[in-house]
Point group: C2
Chain length 330, copies 2
């Protein structure tokens, strides 16, 4: 099976009626007609086997996640998806793998009205590169540089479960020591392998939130990017951090690692004027997404942690580094 | 050096004044403001070491080529570049390599007013994925499905030199047997490593040409895609094929292989009504690009070759297959 047959069989679908797609897969370029006057939001993520996912990862989950991490970037800008391209390097053509991968990928694409419009396939070490396009009204995008001292700091959902799932996958003793029934373990693994991009929340937050970004490399590390872009600092109230029951029983050092430096969360971290608390809660309710006020933006640079014990500690804005020594993470 | 420092040092540049970029590298998404009412043309190409280029390839040429092959897709749609994203997997951070790579990449980007707006970097086997965006007026895009029986078939520049350069690089005996002085050999290698995307010609052909595509996997193979999309056939006049002097001396079988099935040419292959011959020549002159009428579109499916000896032969619409056995091309 050649490149064109591969694309046709696994990735070509009828263009949905709702879409902005004028011309989809099969020409030199795809053609999209963006909504009149709107701006285009663009993000690109590359996932490498052995780095972002382990060899043997369930291909359906991988297809889901590869698109989800890109849609999460659109969510963090408050953008509405228009479409995406997929470039795929494959060590060999494995029909069963491609069937499952495209099923996971295209199911999420359909769920968010974000059609596959083009891309590339080639032989090579397994590598997935997705570029996603969305639209946002001029001036409405949720940027990183819009946080102001005095703003509330908010988080969607909760962090830490994906990291715990990863540590259990690696056989890390403290993580493996947790006894979970099969259903609880499956739910935990789903947080790592099937993140849900917060697109509805991102859209609902346009005009309400100040700055926003998505938490992919750990809460504290990504917060650091927001603080740097906005030239401000922050204080996080540890007791306010939404914590999954499975994390509550962990020793403090590991619980904090998961919550604050975990990675692979794909939640939205955003700021809003305290006068907009009602609007933020309404945006959460309208989008069916939990939102929690976890701290505040301060003029003093850096991060402080108001610990559950009541002390105030300077805390590192440390995230996950893709050139670091860890073999696989977000 | 972490991911963010790498991006800042090597890839972040001031946003040029001419550009559509509202927000460049450094947020969850880039933001572009496309020209009002225009359509968005999108293409994505992935280049893998050992497949599309050999280990040790000059990084400056590689940076040029990685963007050039994408810009060539915009050219083939008649689109004007708006910007591009780069996702890059690197086995290790090599500062000298990155300096040269980004120099080649960004010089071509500047030449065509196509700024880098975002992307991703990660560790992994060397892999470059570029996604490029352009704009085109509704109804003006040069699609593959617009060829009609009776149209002329045109080619920009000439094909075959990149393939000959590749065969010499591989040490193929018939290619190595050619004696070339250093300047001629360098010029030949430049055709392989530094293709020039035909953007000015593509723009000049909107409203003039019918169907178009870029020749990346061999003239006959890519023509096959155009013919299939338009449900027509074609006849190529072999004597009309523009042929570099370096190819003229080759044995017939190798000359034809290079001209008709070579790969890596990045020329435009397009059709036009015979009544538009003057307009096509004017578009070529206005864009400083040679254009040659090499045959005609016919109602009968398939390809015929009117050979230099005067016979008419059925000819295979064979191209280069990226899952084939060749170690590196197209």
């Amino acid at each position: 099976m050649g490149e064109f047959e591969l694309i046709r069989r696994h990735f070509q679908r009828a263009t949905p009626a709702y879409s902005a797609v004028v011309l989809g897969v099969g020409d030199d370029c795809a053609l999209l007609q963006p909504p009149a006057g709107e701006q285009l939001a663009i993000s690109s993520d590359m996932l490498v086997e052995g780095r972002h996912f382990l060899a043997g990862t369930d291909p359906q989950s991988l297809g889901h996640k590869a698109l989800a991490v890109n849609l999460s970037d659109l969510a963090a800008m408050g953008a509405r998806p228009l479409g995406f391209t997929l470039a795929l390097a494959l060590p060999a053509i494995d029909d069963a793998w491609l069937t499952d991968f495209s099923a996971g990928l295209l199911a999420l694409a359909q769920q968010h009205a974000c059609p596959l419009v083009g891309g590339d396939t080639t032989a090579g070490p397994l590598n997935l590169c997705i570029t996603v396009f969305g639209s946002v009204k001029p001036g409405q995008a949720l940027r990183r540089d819009a946080a102001r001292a005095g703003d509330d700091l908010w988080l969607s959902g909760r962090t830490g479960e994906a990291r715990l799932a990863l540590e259990r996958q690696f056989g890390t003793p403290w993580a493996g020591a947790l006894t979970l029934d099969a259903a609880a373990d499956a739910a935990l693994q789903a947080r790592l392998h099937r993140p849900e991009p917060r697109l509805a929340l991102g859209l609902a937050l346009t005009g309400v939130a100040g700055a926003a970004l998505d938490v992919s490399d750990g809460l504290a590390g990504d917060l650091g990017h927001l603080l740097a872009a906005s030239r401000v600092g922050a204080c996080i109230d540890e007791a306010a951090l939404p914590t999954a029951p499975v994390l509550s029983g962990l020793p403090e050092v590991h619980r904090r690692e998961c919550l604050l430096h975990g990675g692979d969360d794909y939640e939205l971290l955003f700021t809003a004027d305290p006068a907009r608390r009602g609007d933020v809660l309404a945006a959460g309710a309208a989008s069916g997404t939990a939102v929690t006020r976890i701290g505040r933006i301060e003029a003093t640079p850096g991060l402080r942690l108001q610990t559950v014990e009541g002390s105030l500690k300077d805390w590192p804005l440390r995230g996950f580094d893709h050139f670091g020594s860890r073999p696989a993470s977000g």
